[in-house]
Symmetry: C2
Subunit: 487 residues, 2 copies
């Protein structure tokens, strides 16, 4: 039995229990104050079979520490708003802000574990779930989060005693079924699946700690000491800067964009109308199929992104789309992982979410302007790939556009805008400054395409020197993407 070998237990001299707890509490508070200044969140996963004392432990931790910076998150059945979004959405929305601690009961481990036990998934499915969890957790810790995972282990007979005899009915968590699946003869299969899942999600930065939870005092002390040790170790060390990935020398994708392409005014009119009608029907079809469309629009300044997006929104029933403008993050958003602000904007199943600038800012403006460190933007490629895969696995349809123009065309448009008083947006100094960094941006775009183009989330580089051509191509590409996905 693996858990019996794994389980840790701090022995206590009963005479010194009280003073030891007193000291532990003092030390935990100390670390909590350091945490507040560290700019790092703590994510504490508490797992174990029913009756292992998870709720009581959480209660105790809230007593020991300052509850003002702890949020306890319990995940019972998902709400319909949660079910209609990618799996990790319900966890992203509950992540603690920097300096805060989030306790997760019934975490992202619960569903794969249950599904393995009831046979919904096999070992391969469990393996797949573990891979997704690893990438989710890795994203969090790479961003500075301190992740601590505890499994409270009790024997089958202890569980039976806890659930059948001891718990007073009035104080019992009413969602704990009177007959949890471990009690239906599935204790062993549960632990076998859990052991597998723990092994597959064990790592230096996201370690599991299995605690012998037979005795309450010992269990709580052990958990407290483990948490204290983890906090100390992580707060003492600077967030280890990830070693830089070896980056593939990028192809010059931009050079290959056929910028000479153009479209006459009369062809434009017909093809625009045709594709708008086509898109309108397709988006309703996606709605009926409960498939969401997620589109990222990126491009050079003055490439015509705004007016191209207008041709797309004009085609979609306003009840079905949300247009999200991405600029600098708000002060609330700054307190989370940079992907948090995109997760929070995802709509329910069947809707279209159009991002005017997107999560690719991390590897474009944030990279070029130095707002993100080298380690941050380099690991962002994988994070973005994981994010988009989460969307696609849930059934979302993802498309990404880079609207490309030549440097000469941009200059002409800047100059035209400066002359034209009636244009409501002026060219700012910042636009001119960005223009000076054209080569750095071009390199970033090429690498972005190279690292994040994938079969399920394609990059479309659109020739934009002729606006008419660009608008129609974007509409056509969206229609093709939807048709293929809805087949």
């Amino acid at each position: 039995m693996k858990f019996d070998q794994w389980a840790v237990r701090y022995d206590i001299d009963p005479d010194h229990y009280k003073s030891r707890i007193e000291q532990l509490r003092e030390d935990l508070l100390e670390q909590q104050f350091r945490l507040a200044d560290s700019g790092r969140p703590v994510i504490l996963v508490i797992a174990g079979v029913d009756g292992a004392g998870k709720g009581v432990l959480v209660h105790r931790l809230n007593e020991w520490m300052d509850p003002r910076r702890i949020e306890t998150n319990t995940f019972w059945d998902p709400s319909d708003e949660e079910e209609e979004r990618p799996y990790f959405w319900r966890y992203w929305r509950r992540l603690p802000a920097r300096g805060h601690t989030g306790i997760f009961l019934g975490s992202w481990y619960r569903q794969p574990l249950q599904h393995r036990v009831d046979g919904t998934i096999d070992d391969d499915g469990l393996h797949h779930a573990a891979r997704r969890i690893r990438s989710f957790e890795h994203q969090l810790t790479a961003d500075g989060a301190i992740l601590i995972k505890l499994w409270l282990h009790i024997s089958e007979s202890t569980q039976r005693r806890q659930l059948e005899e001891k718990a007073p009915k009035t104080q019992q968590n009413p969602r704990v079924t009177d007959n949890p699946y471990e009690l239906r003869g599935l204790y062993q299969p549960t632990l076998e699946a859990a052991a597998r899942l723990i092994q597959q999600t064990q790592s230096v930065e996201c370690p599991w700690h299995v605690i012998d939870a037979e005795d309450r005092n010992s269990r709580e002390l052990t958990a407290g000491e483990i948490i204290l040790g983890a906090l100390r170790a992580r707060l003492d060390s600077k967030s280890a800067s990830a070693s830089l990935a070896t980056l593939a020398a990028p192809v010059d994708y931009l050079a290959a964009v056929p910028l000479q392409k153009s479209l006459s005014a009369s062809d434009y009119k017909t093809r625009l109308a045709d594709n708008q009608e086509r898109l309108q029907d397709l988006v309703w079809r996606a709605y009926r199929d409960k498939r969401s469309l997620v589109v990222a629009f990126e491009g050079w300044d003055a490439a015509g992104k705004g007016s191209a997006i207008r041709r797309v929104t004009a085609a979609i029933d306003p009840r079905l789309y949300t247009l999200v403008q991405i600029a600098a993050p708000s002060d609330e958003e700054i307190d989370y992982h940079y992907l948090w602000r995109f997760w929070r904007r995802l709509q329910r199943d069947g809707r279209a979410t159009l991002f005017d600038r997107s999560w690719y800012g991390r590897v474009l403006v944030e990279r070029v302007e130095g707002f993100a460190s080298d380690a941050e933007w380099q690991r962002a490629y994988d994070e973005i790939n994981d994010f988009e895969r989460d969307l696609v696995e849930h059934g979302n349809i993802v498309a990404k556009f880079w609207l490309h123009i030549s440097a000469e065309e941009q200059l002409e448009r800047f100059q035209a805008r400066e002359k034209e008083a009636r244009k409501r947006y002026k060219i700012t100094d910042e636009d001119w400054r960005n223009r000076e960094k054209w080569p750095a941006y071009a390199a970033a775009v090429n690498q972005m395409v190279s690292m994040t183009d994938s079969k399920h989330a394609r990059w479309h580089l659109i020739a934009g020197n002729c606006k008419r051509h660009a608008r129609v191509r974007i509409l056509e590409t969206l229609c093709e993407t939807l048709e293929k996905a809805l087949e």
Copy 2:
């Protein structure tokens, strides 16, 4: 037929239609740019029977205006997360930020109207709903929102033609039932109820405009002109400062608090433990009854609010409560009505939400420090009463505490804290400055209690010179409140 008399229609010379629309569009864009700078949101309600062309109109408005600052909100069936919160929560969460426009289809008018038609409520019920809507809308406009309400009116035969003949199936909103209740012979009753509701929610600041919607071009032009006129009128006028309410001379509630009350250490221990156990059971009972507890904690600096709250949280299962710290609003929150940041923190049915400082900041610190204008904090009493009534009508249990100490006691505690190195919070200069404003705060507290104490949301002024007494009294009061409500 009232609607036929009410309905407005702008006649159009077909030869000039195109140029007039061109001009309208230009003008609307102009107002939208002014709006962005005005710091005011626009709330556009679009109502009418099925088939009146609401969706098409919204589509057109998105084409005419800059869609980047328009959010369309469609309300079909409420999600379970919405059903488990007070009625207006689903609308609060979709309100547009300052400078933005929110279009509301299937707005807060839909449910009372449907319920009146299907007989769930009678005329009194409709009247009650109208009163709640008036106070909700008044809150928004008093805060600067520009509220425009359009009713698209069509005849019964036009509706039948629209729904049965014309709509191509693929582009049809699939949630529109094939047989809406107006088609089930209820067209007349629907319009009668709507006429009543419109009359009861008509006001200068929240006007209804009934539009003759028989003809599409005319309908869209009329709607556009009405919106343009409303925007111009409201953006030209400064937000009219509400005339100051006559405020009752307040009673000195604080003077009546029995500050001499105290509790011995041994009595404290017993009564604390007893009431914590009692509270624990009551909160689980409230959970099972799907009744939420909402508690506001206010009090003087150093009154012991934090440590009293810890005695409360220690009694409640961490899975059932959320502790919300209220400090200065974030930059996202600043962009909404000041109550928005409290609405967004409300938990689902059956949970406890504890606010450490609360919406009463508006009539306390914001009043005394001048962060809110006189008009703002004076109208806040009614806004707060409405807010708490919304909570109570949904079934929430509301309790409010002011933790009171004498000025002398505060001085002693400040001095003790300054001496005691181990206290992790220091006394700041701000604390001393606040202390100098004691009389102004005392006046604000007295008036707050006078204006917002009500049978369904009681103020409890707790004598806090003896911390033990205060902690036990808060626990006891919470228990009594819960017991009474759960009877």
